[in-house]
């Protein structure tokens, strides 16, 4: 196994991460995140390098990474969609949204489009966008109230090569409702 490229290309960041914690082992998760940002997933060589950096065995690093669902261990698409399938989204039609996306992308949840552009995940964890149900994330950027038309627009934006941030700006938004001036009713 060869050393991953990010060890040198991101040497300063690696050092900063290690310095941030009173104990090196705490750097495991941020280093997994870093490796995943660079490669799209955490490979065997990433895992070995990170175990070495943090002074743990590879088996230990493996036991830690396997606990967390956001880490990818296999190559994924350039864009990763997470559709929320917890209660609020479920009540507002996440099942239909998932079916629609599967059809449009020609893949099942958990798969990647053949061109390597899009991976579709369904998550049972609530993504904290219940007022915007059904909601999804594109590379962790939020898209609110995704009906079939909006789903198509999101896929189009991805195919145009918009950045995840731009997609979040286009389809996300604030959940605050006005309450200034509220007074309790007399009851």
């Amino acid at each position: 196994m060869s050393a991953p490229a990010w060890l040198t290309s991101h040497a300063d960041e690696v050092q900063a991460i290690l310095d941030r914690y009173p104990q090196k082992r705490s750097a495991l998760m941020p280093l997994f995140h870093l490796a995943q940002e660079v490669r799209g997933y955490v490979s065997e060589e990433d895992l070995a390098a990170i175990a070495e950096l943090t002074g743990v065995t590879k088996a230990y690093a493996e036991s830690v990474i396997s606990f967390y669902s956001l880490y990818e261990r296999k190559p994924v698409g350039k864009y990763v969609i997470h559709v929320c399938n917890n209660i609020a989204c479920g009540l507002e039609g996440s099942a239909e949204l998932i079916r629609h996306l599967e059809e449009r992308l020609g893949i099942k949840a958990g798969e990647t489009t053949p061109d390597g552009l899009i991976t579709l995940h369904v998550t049972g964890e609530c993504i904290a966008a219940c007022d915007a149900a059904p909601a999804l994330q594109v590379n962790l950027e939020y898209c609110n109230k995704v009906d079939p038309e909006k789903a198509d627009a999101i896929i189009e934006a991805i195919r145009r090569g918009e950045t995840p941030e731009a997609i979040g700006d286009m389809f996300g938004g604030l959940s605050l409702q006005p309450t200034a001036g509220f007074t309790k009713s007399s009851s």
Partner: protein, 427 residues
């Protein structure tokens, strides 16, 4: 004179990520006052006097918790719990993305009061935008001399380390969080010892929720008396209620603690046309369901408890007569089963069985005996495990069995979900 938003003031108007905008509305005045005019003990005393109660779910008095720190010379840590993942809860995310300096200021004041050597924010991995926003805000604070060494020339030093999670509900439980922050699997630990005595790296540690810490600058800057004028005697202060489900205008509503469900529902635009209220959970997926008889219950910590539920995270989810409560229970059961960390047998096995039984009921193969098995989980899954996930996973099902037994029984007699069968028949 009506309510004036405190925690959400300015959100959606100016760009509060810009430190000048934040300072323009009184930001960092609480920190200035704390560092220049007050001793750590005085800040602690004010927080205690304010009656602030933790917003992470349990409503534990913050000042009392801080008082549990032993005075034994070991380094202490402050950890902000920003793992927000209780289903139907979404106010921490907004507070972070739209008003990051308020949280930074709250952490700094709290670190000063508790004598923390270093502070951490355990940020939910999904909150990527929140992470970027916090990084930008912290950089600005550092440039102004509000973060790092000798803050505001006071001699007080503090670093805040943002630690991103990676998709695990259980890391919101404070000891699971600490295991994760230490570079381990996010597995909870037995309490006692509580984190205040033995927490991060075995050192005394305070864990507080995002919204809890966001209250602190206002308490310090505007004073205890002002703070206690908001909310109720036993649940003082403002609260951001996250409203979702079957209402016209779901969203975050900042209101004085103790607003009633009816008032909140009214603000949220009410139910959809022609629909009837079936029930609601006042505090996220873990909270027992309340019924249409409970609409006048004040949504504060004690009143919700007396009504047989809990304020929890104040994630208020509303169910109308189109919603099948067995289906809701099944969603939650799947969720808890997925998120159980697997250490304790009752939780690991119980959550999985519960999920299977509910699925069977939904699909038409359920029996009355299944309902007895579900009822027995109260005995087998409550109070028998390391952390409260096991207990939390049973509350909703138990409350529906108790308050809406007919919903479950109808699934057995009809051989599936009556609402869905109705849809099939009329189609």
């Amino acid at each position: 004179m009506g309510f004036e938003p405190v925690l959400t003031k300015g959100i959606g108007e100016g760009d509060l990520i810009d430190i000048d905008v934040y300072e323009g509305q009184g930001g960092y005045q609480g920190l200035r006052k704390a560092l220049k005019e007050l001793s750590p003990a005085e800040v602690h005393e004010m927080v205690k006097e304010s009656g602030l109660r933790g917003r992470g779910g349990a409503g534990f008095p913050t000042g009392v918790k801080w008082g549990f720190l032993p005075n034994d010379g070991r380094p202490r840590y402050l950890v902000c719990n920003a793992d927000e993942s209780e289903p139907a809860t979404f106010n921490n995310r907004m507070l972070i993305e739209y008003n990051p300096h308020q949280l930074i200021e709250g952490i700094l004041i709290s670190a000063y009061a508790t004598g923390a050597a270093q502070s951490f924010i355990y940020l939910r991995g999904e909150f990527k935008r929140g992470y970027d926003v916090l990084m930008r805000a912290m950089e600005q604070a550092r440039r102004k001399g509000y973060l790092g060494k000798n803050i505001m020339g006071s001699g007080f030093d503090q670093e805040i380390t943002v630690h991103r999670g990676a998709g695990a509900y259980i890391c919101g439980e404070e000891t699971g969080l600490l295991s994760s922050l230490e570079g381990g699997r996010g597995q909870p630990r037995l309490k006692p010892p509580f984190p205040a005595v033995s927490g991060l790296y075995g050192m005394p540690t305070i864990v507080n929720n995002v919204e809890t810490l966001c209250n602190v600058p206002h308490i310090i800057y505007r004073g205890v008396e002002w703070y206690r004028s908001i909310g109720t005697e036993k649940s003082p202060g403002p609260k951001i209620y996250s409203v979702s489900g079957k209402v016209k205008r779901p969203g975050n509503y900042e209101l004085p603690l103790g607003v009633t469900f009816a008032e909140l529902l009214d603000l949220a635009g009410g139910l959809h046309e022609g629909r009837r209220l079936k029930g609601f959970q006042p505090g996220g997926a873990s909270a027992p369901i309340l019924t249409a008889d409970h609409v006048d219950v004040p949504l504060d910590f004690d009143s919700t408890m007396e009504a047989g539920s809990m304020l929890g995270t104040a994630g208020v989810i509303v169910f109308d007569d189109t919603v099948c409560l067995v289906r809701v229970a099944r969603y939650y059961a799947d969720f808890f089963s997925n998120e159980s960390c697997g250490q304790c047998t009752p939780c690991r096995e119980g959550t999985a069985w519960k999920s299977r039984i509910l699925r069977r009921l939904e699909e038409g193969g359920g029996t009355m005996h299944d309902l007895d098995v579900l009822r027995s989980l109260k005995r087998t899954m409550q109070g028998t495990t390391i952390c409260l996930l096991s207990d939390a996973s049973t509350f909703f099902v138990q409350s529906v069995l108790e308050r809406f037994p007919e919903e479950f029984e109808a699934h057995v007699t009809a051989g599936g979900c009556p609402l869905q069968l109705e849809e099939v028949r009329s189609a």
